[in-house]
């Protein structure tokens, strides 16, 4: 008996150790530093709430958080719509498993290049004298180049959707593939229309996949800084950029405080999402 418990502890030890060193310790450090003070060139240990007071009382913080949430929600809606459609097509319209896998792999090919390259390639395409505007002008759709195509919320969300749709496709496709086909046959036999089958059978059974995809997309968008910087031409801010600016100016405590608040926000969001679906049960 005693021997067993020792073995149990030993078996759990490597993973616990890895998590402790690479997850728990850094987060604990960030929380500790968020209470420190900073001068122009150094940080000093202290226990003060200055960083939080400044953050929570500045209306810039709220504007930036609102903006970040706006990006997350719009990106989520688009990636879900596109991701669900793609997964649905792959899972239910492609008959042979070989083709399903082949087409699925095709979806992942763009991800073999750096996501920064994929993002930056939009800039010459959407620019004032870029391909999009040139094409629209030559077709006679517009007379003046569209200014809002680049360095706007439009371009930021476009890049997000482009970058993160696959994170929706993969988990949704995965759960859809596990749906017992006889359930759909039963629905059809019972006289359900295509939409009714989709709404009452497929979507409820796909919820765990949707939820996992949602967690991916929301976490990625909330934590991003580089996409917003490049695609908005530095004109919009989100929480990630606030942290990046602070780090650039050696204000580590203030950056840590922002990071802690972001972490709490994202955890609350994901906690709420998980109330709707019990992922563990479904997996």
């Amino acid at each position: 008996m005693r021997n067993n418990s020792v073995i149990g502890w030993l078996l759990a030890a490597p993973l616990s150790l890895v998590l402790l060193v690479f997850l728990v310790a850094p987060i604990a450090m960030i929380v500790v530093v968020s209470f420190w003070g900073a001068t122009e060139w150094s940080i000093y240990p202290a226990f003060q709430f200055d960083n939080y007071t400044f953050l929570l009382t500045s209306d810039v913080t709220y504007r930036v958080y609102l903006n970040t949430l706006k990006y997350a929600i719009i990106t989520w809606a688009f990636t879900l719509l596109i991701g669900f459609t793609v997964a649905y097509y792959l899972a239910f319209h492609i008959r042979s498993l070989t083709w399903q896998i082949a087409l699925f792999l095709l979806c992942t090919i763009p991800f073999l290049t750096s996501n920064i390259i994929r993002m930056i390639s939009w800039i010459p395409f959407l620019g004032r004298n870029g391909l999009a505007n040139q094409a629209l002008i030559s077709w006679g759709v517009i007379d003046e180049p569209l200014e809002w195509l680049l360095f706007s919320d439009f371009s930021v969300i476009l890049a997000f959707v482009h970058l993160y749709t696959l994170f929706m496709v993969v988990p949704i496709f995965n759960t859809m593939m596990r749906i017992d086909k006889s359930l759909i046959e039963a629905a059809v036999d019972a006289g359900a229309s295509g939409w009714q089958t989709l709404w009452h059978v497929i979507i409820p059974l796909t919820k765990p996949g949707i939820m996992i995809g949602t967690i991916f997309v929301v976490a990625l968008v909330m934590g991003d800084f580089i996409t917003v910087r490049f695609m908005s031409g530095s004109q919009s801010a989100n929480v990630g950029r606030m942290i990046q600016n602070d780090i650039g100016l050696l204000q580590y405590p203030s950056a840590s405080a922002t990071a802690v608040i972001l972490l709490v926000t994202v955890l609350l969001l994901i906690g709420t999402l998980l109330r709707f679906v019990d992922i563990r049960k479904e997996l």
Binding site: E40, W41, S42, F54, S58, V60, R63, V64, N67, I123, P124, G127, R128, N129, G130, E147, L150, F151, R229, S232, G233, S234, Q235, S236, A237, R241, M242, N245, I247, G248, L249, L250, Q251
Partner: protein
Amino acid sequence: MTTISKVRYSRRSILKTGGAAVAAAALPAPMVWGQETKNITLRQFGTGVSNLNDVAMKVKEDLGFTLEMTALDSDSVTQRAATQPDSFDIADIEYWICKKVWPTGNLQAMDTSKIANYDKIVGIFRDGKLTPESTIAQGTAPHTVGFVEGPGGTEFVDNESGWMTLIPTIYNADTLGIRPDLIGRPISNWSELLNPEFAGKASILDISSIGIMDMAMVVESMGEYTYPDKGNMTKEEIDLTIGIFTEAKKNGQFRAFWKSFDESVNLMASGEVVIQSMWSPAITAVKSQGIPCVYQPLEEGYRSWGGGIGLSSSLSGMELDAAYEYINWYLSGWVGGYLMRQGYYSAVPETSKAFMSENEWGYWFEGKEATDVITSPTGDTLAQAGETRDGGSFEERMGAVACWNAVMDENQYMVRKWNEFIAA
């Protein structure tokens, strides 16, 4: 942000030869020393402007030791100099960064008696005056943070104490860059940056400490306010300045903000932007693509900056000697000529003259018409015969400096306000 890593000797191999080095230092025998320098590696980091591979190669050729260069943006440079003193031997930083970093004690003061060309260094870096009659511009003028009282000094002093914080290497006068072909009329004031005529086609740099100075030049030029010292604003002045720009941003004046050199080049070359804050090599980069671009001299004068080499406080012994040797080499003309042929100025212009052709010296330094094609050190054509440099001669350009890049007493407040401006 790029990192250029060079072939290097490991620190361990230097340690191994350290014993021999001690012996060599005890018995002054130049031959042995000459052999030993080959094993020395000095690690230099700084902003992209002067961290050039060509310089490292020339150092190896002329002095024998290895110079390992890392190029970073100005925020990262400040960060590294302040927080990682053991990661470098030589810091190539700007004077305003020096004001921020010096109090950390990560740099050591340099003995000017060991600098051969010290007496020939331009007055701007010594007593602050280009010529005896010139007035000192606002902001963090290099001479105000150029000297400390002694080897361990932490306070800046206002005289030539013989202990220098940075040895000046490179400086220039910055102004707005414009696309003359897309603007089609003369531009002669900083206020044009906020002219509604250029709505959606203007840009400013998103580096707060430099951006605020450009803003101040614009606000003064608009006649909104005259600053007692643009380089050291009060909270009210910061609010006023950023307020004016926030309103312009909300009205759609700006196409984008830029943070890195390449971004500014792309914005200008693609025609997204026709007027913006810019750095001189960025203008050169746009021009070398065959696109017209002018570094427009403006009536209110220039916003100037200067950089220099600082030594890590952990440098000592033979490596410190090598660093002094490097500095003396730096000021002896080859690098100066190289930098001046890109449009910068060297701290000791007269030594650089020997490394430039008469045509190049006339064009870049004296503001004369080029008598032949002017090319950059890398071979790109920059000007044809008959053209003159934007802004004229050295004295005309450096004599018209209105302010220096600066760090303010209210810097932290300014940075917060700047973040609000970006988020607005």
